[in-house]
Subunit: 334 residues, 2 copies
């Protein structure tokens, strides 16, 4: 291997083969991938959950993770939120000419570690290289297949009085990435929350059954945008209590300096869940049983009072409407 | 919609929603996609074939197609070559800030038309926008799921004496793209061969059974590179006859001027197939029955004479060894 990626590595010829066989295969080895055919054959005898996400995060290394870890967790989490148990991933790399090979190695290592943790296999992949100045180091697309393990989950299942939960502190990921971009402006001890949510989501789905209405991971646009998505059909509103929403002091501090709003900042290892009010304590207990759910909290409820609107209540009793994110608060956060 | 894509369209907020609901959904509408959850739930009760490909072709419009058509055909073909009947696609867009919205519309239209022709549905997707100068108009990743319809297909099934077929003229796609890049240097009447191969491949798989050893579409690196992949395990060699390999006069002419070799130039609507010698006439007849297979030909055979090597025989009886593509003959051809 050379020290830097050249266009040759995207040719489909010898260098592409070398990149795959010397670096990618040894780390991501499994029967389906080893065939190196154009498609992987996998066994599936159930209802499938299928998802895709492209990752363009800048910088590609950030506190608490990198684009590799993120690209596995992002798709694992999307499948999990849809009620699936993720099993297989595809991996599409778009590499900019000049990427240090050592960086690529570190990213592939992260992919491997995250895939192991989430119990998924990368079974098919593709590598392209674009000229210097036509990318930004590396972009990654993953797609994933899982098997459905829950009854129907959808915002349409939400009812008045349902409880709204979050699995941990909000805004860590987006704030950590902004920190990495602004090291000269502000220092803080803060890691991205980036983590696979499949076990936690599966437990919630299995144990709550129909009491679980919908789950979603608040990535781009943060919890405010995702909660707005839940009530888009205009049947109900959601009210959340500012005092109950867990936010790390470091996230508050950095957000203030950089002009961010943690409720609109991406998480990559958190989930929002809407559950029947009578199941909220059980749901909380389940979440608290996982390392990534120790900070879980009930943060609000579904109301008939202001259909289609998310209202954030302050400790003083006041309330403000929080609309969907408009414009790009944080471009290339994931 | 605005006339040009801004970073806001990648925010995950209002503009992203508008882009999806105003442009993408109306064209790609289906039940699974309409849910707009993070993952699509689809039915699958069989062995799956799963594939992914990123498309970075430059320019994104070229004679005979565009990046949208290519991104559907590429993944449809990869699944088909692995013996699968493609059913579901994911669609990941990485758009550069400033892309004319009219171009995006045209690309989505192409995706729709190609998906319709191939009988596949786009069931899940993702949209990211990167800053001007960090991409090149648009990159597209697709992945796809199909159901396995053939016995095991693999280069390992190849035996001495097997016949090698190609489904039509070679090098059209790569040459057409190079033509689009060099309009000032050379004019020719030439279209990319870009097309979905699923029906043709399925027919071959179903009717030949175990007489079909392996199929593959010769994209990056062209037929020379793909044929080398077939014999990589070193058990056999392949010999092909120059006089039998169909090449359009326009491809020969443009290749000569631009210094290309059609045997190393990408096709995007052609397939190579290795079949038992006794099945070669039947295979040819099947291919000839399809619009994209009218130019099919037997071009060579598997031999024990020079294991691991592809030899191209000239009409005069001479032969040259054609190795895998080394270096990037044509960067960003797909």
């Amino acid at each position: 291997m050379d020290n830097f990626i050249t266009l040759d590595y995207g040719s489909g010829g010898k260098k592409t083969s070398a990149l795959i066989s010397d670096m990618i295969l040894p780390l991501l080895k499994n029967e389906a991938l080893e065939e190196l055919g154009d498609g992987a054959v996998i066994d599936g005898a159930e209802r499938l959950v299928y998802s895709t996400d492209s990752f363009v995060v800048s910088p590609y290394f950030f506190p608490g993770g990198d684009i590799g870890k993120l690209s596995v967790c992002g798709t694992v989490n999307d499948i999990s939120m849809a009620g699936g148990e993720p099993k297989f991933l595809s991996l599409g790399l778009i590499i900019e000419e000049g990427l240090p090979v050592a960086d690529l190695q570190r990213i592939i290592d992260s992919i491997r570690a995250a895939a192991d943790r989430a119990g998924v296999k990368v079974v098919t992949g593709d590598t392209k290289v674009v000229e210097r100045g036509r990318g930004d180091g590396i972009y990654i697309n993953t797609s994933g297949i899982g098997f459905l393990r829950t009854p129907r989950l959808s915002p349409r299942m939400i009812r008045e009085g349902d409880a709204v939960l979050v699995s941990g502190t909000v805004g860590d990921h987006g704030t950590a990435v902004m920190l990495a971009r602004n090291e000269h402006l502000v220092q803080a001890d803060l890691d991205s929350d980036c983590a696979p949510l499949n076990e936690m989501a599966l437990a919630l789905g299995k144990q709550l059954g129909a009491d679980l209405r919908v789950m979603r991971d608040p990535t781009r646009g943060g919890i405010a945008t995702t909660l707005n998505e839940f009530i888009e059909d205009g049947r109900y509103g959601i009210e959340i209590m500012e005092k109950d929403i867990p936010v790390l002091p470091a996230v508050n501090m950095v957000s203030e300096i950089l002009g961010l709003d943690p409720y609109y900042t991406a998480c990559e290892g958190r989930m929002l869940a809407v559950v029947d009010a009578k199941a909220k304590d059980r749901a909380l207990e389940i979440l608290h049983g996982f390392a990534d759910g120790t900070g879980a909290a009930v943060i609000g409820e579904v109301t008939g009072a202001h259909p289609g609107k998310l209202v954030i209540r302050t400790p003083m009793g006041g309330g403000r409407i929080a609309a969907k994110l408009s414009g790009a608060q944080l471009p290339r956060i994931c």
